[in-house]
Amino acid sequence: MIDNPFAVFTPEGLTADRVVAIFSTEMPGLGNIESAGHAFVIGTRGSGKSILFRYLEPDCQRIVTKKALRELPFLSLYVSFRETQAQISELARFDDKHGEVFFNEHLLVLAIGAQVVLRLLRNNDIEADELTPLAREQHDELAALLGSDVADVSANVGQALKVMAARLQTAYRSAIQYVRKHGFKSDTLTYTGELYGFDDLLLPLIDFLRAALQMPDQSPILLLLDDADSLTETQTRILNSWVARRLSSRCSLKIAAQITAYKTMVTVYNTRIEAPHDYQEINLSDATGRASEKAYRSRIAGIVQRRLNTVGIVKAAERYFPEDHRQSLEIEREEKRLVAEWDAGRGRGYRARDDAYRYARPNYIAKLGGDRKSRSTYSYSGFDQLVHISSGVTRFFLEAAADMYSQSVALAPRGNKKVDSIQPRVQNEVVREHANRQMIVDLKDLERDVERLKGDPQQAVQLSNLIKGLGSMFESALIDRTAAERKLFSFALSEEPTREIDEVLRLGVRYGYLFQGVIGRKEGAGRAPLYILSRRLAPLFNLDPMGFSGYKFLSNDKVEQLMNDPEGARLSLRRRRGRTDENQMSIDFLDGGSDA
């Protein structure tokens, strides 16, 4: 059995050696995260938030810097909120009740404390280190705070941390016992235990860890809080209240969350936290601008090379994922023709290479044939196309690459299981299959089975209609040689969305069919949300996934038509296009899926 170099595993469980081997340091904002100050790391699921945090942990940093723990430039303490049992249903009994905030904070600080202590112990060889007098003093104060009336005789860091973790866990379980009693109680019961908070428990605990590990005062301590979108709204407000504090000298909060799932930016005091005043924002999924696209490509190239190195392959990403040779020659020829046209004064852009970039690939796709089926012979292969298709989400690239690798292993002759490159045919098949899986398995079934659905069927159908309508609209532009902007993948609303539209768009973003960015408003004042169709769906509509694309402004009426009246939207598109390509507009996924 050969290890698949592109296999995706959750980073928390990876060894430090493996993380350092595969992590690409070409990550936006990495330097900012490593320094003092609060920061939000936002990105879609799979954009690399967790592996970034894992990379910052001391066991990884010791390998990277070849330094001892106390010599590291910073000390990171990792917590995943998935492991803090945030969604305990009984906690809802405390909603809007006196003490709701205090009790939730109590649970949070105990869970965070126990996690950081145990993870430090598990991943670092610190057990035998001697406890300094300062650390001993702080340890004893914390022990007293946690209700220990017996003098602790822990002689070394390992023993002291274990005892501390056990106390935190005991206090946490005791609090959960109290919560548990509320499942079948309408009123909240009197709480007689201790209540701990950020100031009286978590900060002293962090001070103790600094002393126990003998970290210099000038080395920042970073509390890495992963999966913050798992928190309830109350817990999120508590966390925001910590962010509103200036704490950099003692610890900095680095919070990772999915873009749309973080519940609120409001604190428990009903104030808002804002960037850059309260925190820095680092967006790992922002592939909406040329600069961020370039950085993303570079990051993926680094990841591919590092992962290939782990199986003994030294090759540039572009050579490992080659584009279909015949297709790339044809596109090159078209580029030359467009440059010649521009030189002859028949160009459309400011520069010859603008025309080549904008129109060569769309012209090639349009030339493949008049109907959708002919155009679906286009090959989605080559590293650059794969990068664009992954839509700024590292995991999408890796999952596709892992499937391509597995298929290539299966196709290789017996005894020769080393995959030196991925054939364009295999790349194309996997990309198309993934697109089908995303659209057909999820959305097409929802639409076809509308009468069989229970749940939120209307929104699912509206989303399905919208995605297909957008795809057809963008395809129509791509093959229209008279259109000013042929590479469309995005749209912005020219007015405030209705609630119905907003909910469907949020659903689309949540399920990864759409990505969200921002652009300047049409009227020039302020910013408006931009919705970008996932490039993973490009094969379903024969779209060109490459490069930075233009966008359309759509009115609420137009979006509502796409969502609720797909037939009307189709007729409207047909009228505009003059019935030149009816098959293209008939959105038939069974014919449009694959050329395999």
Binding site: Q85, R93, Q115, L446, L453
Partner: protein
């Protein structure tokens, strides 16, 4: 687990009984009531989801007609897939209901309850509704699953709204320790996949429901495939347990978790019978948490009724679980 026809069921129960069931879009939600009526029902409590999107007016009319034949009126208990406390509150009200006689024989038709409703019912029976401590559980076996779909296309639900603990099963975890998730998927691998993605357990243990005899024999291969798929990107293992056998499911889960020192999270989405068994077990192991994720959509043609009813009592399941836990503690 006893297997009875509708006629046998009525004969077994000797006289009138009180029923708690759940009204849903499925015909199966009325199978037990039909089998008991007329003349066999003394009282009928019916759980009704407040935020159900599907129009079940016809089913409600049918239920009311059955109730009229039996000479009773239905008392609806409110539930909500968005707010599980609603059902807990309804059960609190019920526990305080002085007309809930101690002498009534109570039947729980668990066929079309959601897994969460069923687990809350089991917890309430253990904690506040004393009259249900020996609740007689009835499950109407499906005549066919997912219509004429081929085995690989059969499905029950897709997508999830959120993952949350079930009321009555918050667990008592030790934060910072590893987490083991025991997943019992049904024909909704995508839903379970989403749950695993949300929870990201350190270890995933997937139970494979093994059909007994010829009934739904086709499902064995499908269930094994679902388990393999779930474990593609996770550290973990599988274990077999007998489908539709609560005692066998308890044995299998206790065995697979015998040496576990980590936090335990149970995610039952297979048969309601297995879910009831895990509910009873988790009440005896309060450090284990049970989690649930409301489905985004359900297959409205998921299952058809049959004249086959499986029965078991909570007492019997509890006694078995206690004896197995005791045996593990004493090393047998």
């Amino acid at each position: 687990m006893r297997e009875l026809t509708g006629e046998d069921l009525r004969g077994t129960l000797h006289g009138t009984v009180s029923l708690i069931s759940c009204l849903s879009f499925e015909e199966r939600s009325l199978s037990v009531a039909k089998a008991l009526s007329p003349g066999g029902l003394r009282r009928w409590l019916c759980i009704l989801n407040e935020d159900i999107e599907t129009d079940i007016t016809d089913m409600r009319y049918k239920a009311e007609a059955i109730a009229a034949d039996a000479g009773v009126s239905i008392q609806f208990l409110s539930a909500s897939k968005r707010n599980p406390l609603l059902l807990a509150d309804a059960l609190i009200g019920l526990a305080e209901d002085l007309t809930l006689g101690d002498q009534d024989k109570w039947i729980g038709d668990i066929t079309t309850m959601t897994h969460e409703m069923l687990l809350i019912l089991v917890a309430a029976a253990d904690e506040i509704v004393q009259q249900w401590s020996d609740l007689f559980l009835v499950y109407n076996v499906a005549g066919a699953y997912s219509g004429d779909d081929s085995p690989e296309e059969k499905w029950v639900s897709r997508g999830i709204h959120e993952v949350r603990s079930v009321i009555g099963y918050p667990g008592a975890w030790s934060p910072g320790e590893y987490t083991t998730m025991v997943a019992l998927p049904g024909f909704d691998p995508e839903r379970m996949h989403h749950m695993v993605e949300e929870i990201e357990p350190d270890q995933l243990v997937v139970g494979i429901a093994c059909p007994i005899g010829e009934r739904h024999a086709w499902s064995a291969e499908k269930n094994r495939g679902i388990a393999e798929q779930l474990l593609q990107t996770r550290k973990g293992k599988t274990f077999d347990y007998p489908a539709l056998d609560p005692l066998g499911a308890i044995d299998a889960v206790i065995d697979v978790l015998r040496d576990t020192t980590s936090n335990v999270l149970l995610a039952p989405l297979n048969s309601k019978i297995t879910t009831a068994a895990l509910g009873v077990l988790a009440r005896l192991r309060p450090e284990w948490q049970i989690c649930y994720a409301p489905a985004f959509i359900y297959n409205l043609k998921y299952a058809t009724p049959s004249d086959c009813f499986l029965t078991c009592t909570l007492d019997k399941i509890r006694a078995h679980a206690l004896s197995r836990i005791g045996a593990v503690c004493t090393g047998n």
